[in-house]
Amino acid sequence: MKHLLSAADLSYEEAILVLDTAKQLAAATEHGVGKLPPLRGRTVVNLFYEDSTRTRISFEAAAKRLSADVINFSAKGSSVSKGESLKDTALTLEAMGADAVVIRHNSSGAPHRLANAGWISGGVVNAGDGTHEHPTQALLDAYTLRNHLRNGEGDLKGVNVTIVGDVLHSRVARSNVLLLNTLGAKVRLVAPPTLLPYGVEDWDCEVSYDFDASLEGSDAVMMLRVQRERMNAAYFPNAHEYSSRYGLSVTRMNRLSESAVVMHPGPMNRGMEISADVADSQRSVIVEQVANGVSVRMAVLYLILGGSESK
C-alpha cells in the first residue's frame, strides 16, 4: 500500500489486512506497552487545511503510539494563510523528509493531486477531502461493525448498514459505500432527494427516501451530520422538518432489531439528525468509533510506511 486516497483503493484482502492489523495493534497497546517501536525515525506530517480536532488528534495519537515523529501543519498559522500553494507546501514537506503526509483538505481530490503530481515521494493518506472521501473513517466504521456484529473477525458479509442524512456533501458516506461493499455488507442510503448525489442510482447500494421503512432489517444505522445552513440553500425547509423525517429519535431506535447498533462519525448535531437520548443510549457505539479510529489509523500508517522496514 503506497497511498490511501480512496476506500476504492483497498482490495478485499487489503481491507481485511488493515482491520486485522488494527486489531493486533490495539491489543498490543492495551497490554501496558505505551508505545510500539515500528515507525521510530519516520516522520509523519499532519497537513490539515480544515479545522478538525478529532481526526487530527486521532492521526497524531496513532503515529506517536508507533513512535513516529509527528509534525502538525495546519493551514491556520502557517504560510498557507499567506497564500502558499499546495505545490510549494508539498515541496517544502518533501525537502524536510516527510515519509508520509496525512492530508485533510476542503478541495475534493487534493490528496490525489498531492500523491500524483510528482511533488512528493512519500505516502499520502487522505484524512478527508472536500465532499469526496474519508477512507480511514470508513475503516474505523467497518472495524467497529466487525467488533459488534462479527466478533471482531473476518468480513461483513450479509450485514445490512443504513446510512442516513446528507449523503450529497458527505465524504464519510462515499467511503463507506465503497468499503462496505468490498467487505460484503449491504448498504442502504436514506435521505431526502435533495441530499442525494446526482447519479446515486448507479452506486452499489439501495436508495430510499423513507427512513421509517428502512429501520427494519438494519443491523447498523449510521447517522450523518447535517449542517443547519443547508436549509438556506433549500435542501430542506427547516431543521424541525428534517429532524422529524430523517432524525434518529428514540421511537425510531426502538424499532430497530435488538442487536442493531447506532453510529455517527461526529461531530453530532444533537437534536438534529440524532436525539441526545439515542446518542447516549446503549446501542450507541459512537465513543467506541473514536477509540477504534486510533487503532485503524495506526494500522494504515504502519502498512503505508512499510512496518517491515523498521528495525
Binding site: S85, L86, N106, S108, G109, A117, R171, R174, Y198, G199
Partner: protein
C-alpha cells in the same frame, strides 16, 4: 512581394493542383505553375485560412498568460488567419478605447486578423449595456458582442441587447450558463461528479438559457450566436429552433468534440473548463450536430492560463484550456477520420461560417483565383505528440499534452504572406 507556388496540393476534397499566391491574392490555380518560392503540397490539403470566433488573448491585463502577439503566433501555427478576441480582459473590452487598443495590437502583430469582441454589458456585470454602438463604429468595427465567461442571465437585458445590435448587424454571442444552477460548479453533473465529490454543472443550466434565448431571438427577430455548446439537449434545442426559422448559430469547441468527463477522475485541473467536459452521449451528439450543420462552427475557446493556475488542487484551479494550435488536428481526428465530415465541411465549420457570423468579409472565401490569399496547408499523413513545453502560446495548459494528434499544419498564408512555412513559425 515574394510569390509562392504550392505544388500538388489538394483543394478540399478535389484533385492535386498548384496554387500560386501573389500580391496578397490567389493569382493562379492549375498545373505546372511556378513562382519565386515553392512549397511542396503533395499529400496535403488546402483549406481557406481558419477563423476562430472565440479566442482569449488576455491582453490587456493578463499578459503573463498571453498577449495579442503570442496568441497571434499560436493562431498562425494552428492554421488560423483570423481570431476574435474575447472581451473579458482587464480592463474589460466594453468601450471603443479598449477594442481599438486590441485591434491596433493585432495590426502590429500582423499575423492574423484580430477582431475584438465587445462586452454586452459594462464590466461584464450583467446590469447595464456597454457602449455597443461606439464599439461598432470604432476602428475595430466590432460585430460580435459577448460577456463570455459570464452569462447575460437577465432576460430583459438580453432582449435589449439582441434588439440593439440589429442597428449595425451585430450578434450577441451568449455564454449559456444559468448562474444559480451552477454556483460553485466544478465539473459536469453526472455519475462521475457524484463519485468524485465535485459540485456539478448540470446540462440543464446550459439548455435552459439556450431555450430562453432562441425564443427571445425569435420574438425580437434578432440573430443569436450560442458559444461553446456542450450538451445533447442543447443540440436538440438548436435543431428545433432552426426548424422554426429562428436565426441562431452555434459553436462547439474542439475539446468538447474530443474529451468526456471521465478524464476528470485524475483530478488534474488541466481538464477543468467551462462549460465542463460532458458525457460520451453528449460528445456523440455535438459531433453529429456539427456534421449535420445544426452546430455551425468550431470555435476554440482558447483560454491560456499561467502554470500556477493549473498546478494546484482542482477547486483552486482556473477554468480553461488552450486550443488554437491543436484545433485542426482535433477536428481531423474527431470528425474527418471518423467519416462524419469531409474537408469541404471542415472548411465551412472552421472558416466560411465563422467568418460570416463575425462579418469578416476578407476571410472564409473560396479557394479560387482572385480570393484573398488566406490559406492553410495541412498534412493529414503527419502526426505529432503534443509537448506542452513546445507550445507557441505563452501558456502551457493544453489538455492534449502527452497525446498524439494526427496531422500537421505545414504552412499558413495570411494575406499572401507565409506566417507558417515548413511547419515552423515564419515570423
Amino acid at each position: 512581394m515574394t510569390s509562392y507556388v504550392i505544388k500538388d496540393v489538394t483543394i478540399l476534397d478535389g484533385k492535386p493542383t498548384d496554387i500560386v499566391v501573389k500580391d496578397g491574392v490567389i493569382a493562379q490555380i492549375g498545373s505546372g505553375l511556378t513562382a519565386d518560392q515553392t512549397v511542396d503540397g503533395s499529400g496535403c490539403i488546402a483549406l481557406p485560412g481558419l477563423v476562430d470566433l472565440h479566442t482569449h488573448l488576455r491582453e490587456p491585463g493578463r499578459e503573463d498568460a498571453e498577449t495579442v502577439l503570442s496568441g497571434s503566433r499560436a493562431a498562425a501555427m494552428g492554421g488560423f488567419t483570423a481570431v476574435h478576441a474575447m472581451a473579458n480582459t482587464n480592463p474589460v473590452a466594453d468601450t471603443a478605447g479598449v477594442v481599438e487598443q486590441v485591434w491596433r495590437l493585432g495590426q502590429e502583430a500582423g499575423l492574423v486578423d484580430v477582431r475584438p469582441v465587445g462586452a454586452v454589458t459594462m464590466g461584464l456585470e450583467g446590469t447595464a449595456l456597454a457602449e455597443l454602438g461606439a464599439m461598432a463604429d470604432s476602428a475595430a468595427a466590432v460585430r460580435v458582442f459577448s460577456d463570455d465567461g459570464k452569462c447575460v442571465h437577465d432576460a430583459a437585458l438580453m432582449r435589449r441587447a439582441l434588439e440593439y445590435v440589429k442597428a449595425f448587424d451585430g450578434v450577441v454571442a451568449q455564454h449559456a450558463q444559468e448562474p444559480r444552477l451552477t454556483e460553485g460548479a466544478q465539473m459536469n453533473e453526472g455519475v462521475i461528479s457524484g463519485k468524485l465529490g465535485l459540485a456539478g454543472w448540470p446540462a440543464v443550466a446550459e439548455e435552459a438559457i439556450i431555450a430562453r434565448d432562441v425564443l427571445l431571438a425569435h420574438h425580437v427577430g434578432s440573430r443569436l450566436h450560442v458559444c461553446h455548446l456542450s450538451t445533447a439537449g442543447s443540440v436538440e434545442i438548436i435543431r428545433w429552433a432552426k426548424s422554426r426559422g429562428i436565426n441562431v448559430t452555434a459553436e462547439v469547441t474542439p475539446h468538447h468534440l474530443y474529451f468526456t468527463d471521465e478524464v476528470v477522475e485524475s483530478y488534474d485541473p488541466i481538464y477543468k473548463v467551462n462549460p465542463p467536459l460532458r458525457t460520451k452521449a453528449d460528445v456523440e451528439a455535438v459531433r453529429a450536430g456539427l456534421a449535420d450543420g445544426t452546430i455551425n462552427i468550431v470555435a476554440t475557446d482558447h483560454a491560456p492560463h499561467p502554470s500556477e493556475d493549473k498546478e494546484c488542487e482542482w477547486t483552486a484551479a482556473a477554468f480553461g484550456m488552450t486550443g488554437l494550435e491543436s484545433a485542426l488536428s482535433v477536428v481531423y481526428e474527431t470528425m474527418v477520420q471518423t467519416g462524419l465530415m469531409n474537408w469541404a465541411a471542415v472548411a465551412d465549420r472552421m472558416s466560411v461560417s465563422p467568418a460570416q457570423i463575425g462579418r469578416v468579409s476578407t476571410q472564409g472565401q473560396p479557394i479560387e483565383v482572385g480570393s484573398p490569399a488566406n490559406l492553410v496547408i495541412f498534412d493529414p499523413r503527419a502526426s505529432q505528440e503534443v509537448d506542452a513545453r513546445k507550445t507557441v502560446s505563452a501558456s502551457r495548459n493544453t489538455p492534449y499534452a502527452g497525446r498524439t494528434l494526427p496531422g500537421k499544419v505545414v504552412a499558413t498564408f495570411y494575406r499572401g504572406k507565409p506566417t507558417v512555412l515548413n511547419g515552423e513559425l515564419n515570423a
